[in-house]
Symmetry: C2
Subunit: 255 residues, 2 copies
């Protein structure tokens, strides 16, 4: 089973997975990271099918992505994933994205927790058994997310968004990829023609549901970075559901 | 090459392709129909790579889907496609969706045209050569779309939507799946808990672009059917970009 410590898949970029800049869309990349994490967990017998009897399942708690560049055209690329750490409360899973020559073009870190799918409460990982030799321990070479700070409402009023039918997935909550779509939609086409995502961070605090209206608060963290909070517009103190940070880099960087 | 007259692929439904009712999401089905059509066209050497030199490419002009039921859970399902008809102006391509026992659970019809990708004008099909034996001629057993009628604006004002960054694809126009998302989002979660899509029709009149604001006009066509028009809010006479019809059926139908 030692060959399962790392798991890889190779893909060919297709036009319908590309964004307006003809590169792999970040939303599609995230979808593939979740898919490959799911496949690897299932192969290691720590997947959702292994928790069916106790009505539990994995939820993504935090995701950080850093890309030097994105696959474009009809390039082949591959994603490799491994378990970086494991404890009673959560597991860290890392990813490396390689170009067709096998050079690393990006990395991702993720933190996963197990919830009871009926009560949506934290169920812990103690009921799962992962052989120690399957914990790679290999460190993902990108920084963990720094603490997110509260973002004050804008004096002009923040954009509002109400979650709709197609935002809701199998688990009856807002789908991860739909949050990312909402965040990317705060930028213009022209901004993404000039710049690309260098680093993307998202942290899931509470699950949003159908019909919830969120305030999309944002602030400049530094020249290239905007910090976001999606806050429940109708809750007391506009409770934050999601924190995120997006750092852009210019496209005219010789790549 | 006769084994290429029909082309099939088999898929296993995964949780992230399922909608809130745990069935194959219509948006995902459409995405797969387009993918398999593309793959089949490429194998027949009538695909976009074969038109690269003349800057031309296929565009979907019309799509009609009828489903008896949708795959659910982790069911296997397969899609088979064939060219139903072919002329100088357009090609009709049909699809059959089978469940894991090989029973047809749905069909789709599509009409495709070739445009010049620089001018976005109709380029016709005369420059492509498809051997006659590759035109199946097998008729798709669902009705073609009836003519769409103009829909008057609502006296209360129609919902408006502005196309955003993630709605735009590789071709710099609004992606087919994003129009369908917008249409399905006109229904509530509760409506789709009670009913499912029985028949879906969409007709593409003009390409919408980034930043365009559309009026989402709709009217009841019959008890189970709503007709939609997405109209350019800022154009004279609110030019229709898209016509669509969605027929629902109750879920408590013994299935």
């Amino acid at each position: 089973m030692t060959d399962l410590k790392e798991y890889s898949e190779t893909y060919r970029l297709s036009a319908n997975e590309a964004d307006a800049q003809r590169e792999l869309a970040l939303t599609v990349l995230v979808s593939k990271l979740i898919d490959i994490a799911t496949t690897h967990a299932n192969l290691l017998h720590i997947g959702n099918p292994d928790m069916k009897d106790i009505n539990a399942g994995w939820v993504l708690s935090r995701l950080t992505i850093e890309m030097d560049h994105f696959p474009s055209g009809t390039e082949l690329y591959s994603i490799t994933t491994w378990v970086e750490s494991w404890n009673r409360f959560f597991s860290e899973r890392a990813f490396r994205i390689d170009d067709q020559e096998g050079n690393a073009i990006g990395h991702a870190r993720s933190v996963w927790m197990v919830i009871n799918t009926d009560t949506h409460e934290n169920a812990g990982l103690s009921h799962l058994s992962l052989p120690a030799e399957m914990i790679s321990g290999k460190e993902c070479p990108i920084a963990r997310q720094a603490k997110h700070r509260e973002i004050a409402p804008s004096t002009h009023g923040d954009p509002l968004y109400t979650f709709k039918y197609c935002d809701i997935d199998f688990y009856r909550h807002v789908n991860t990829v739909k949050y990312i779509t909402l965040l990317l939609n705060q930028y213009s086409l022209e901004e993404f023609d000039r710049m690309r995502v260098r680093r993307f961070e998202i942290s899931f605090l509470h699950e949003a549901r159908y019909g919830m209206m969120v305030e999309i608060r944002s602030t400049s963290a530094d020249d290239s970075t905007r910090a976001f909070a999606l806050c429940d517009h109708n809750a007391e103190n506009a409770k934050p559901m999601i924190y995120a940070r997006i750092s852009l880099m210019p496209r005219n960087d010789g790549q």
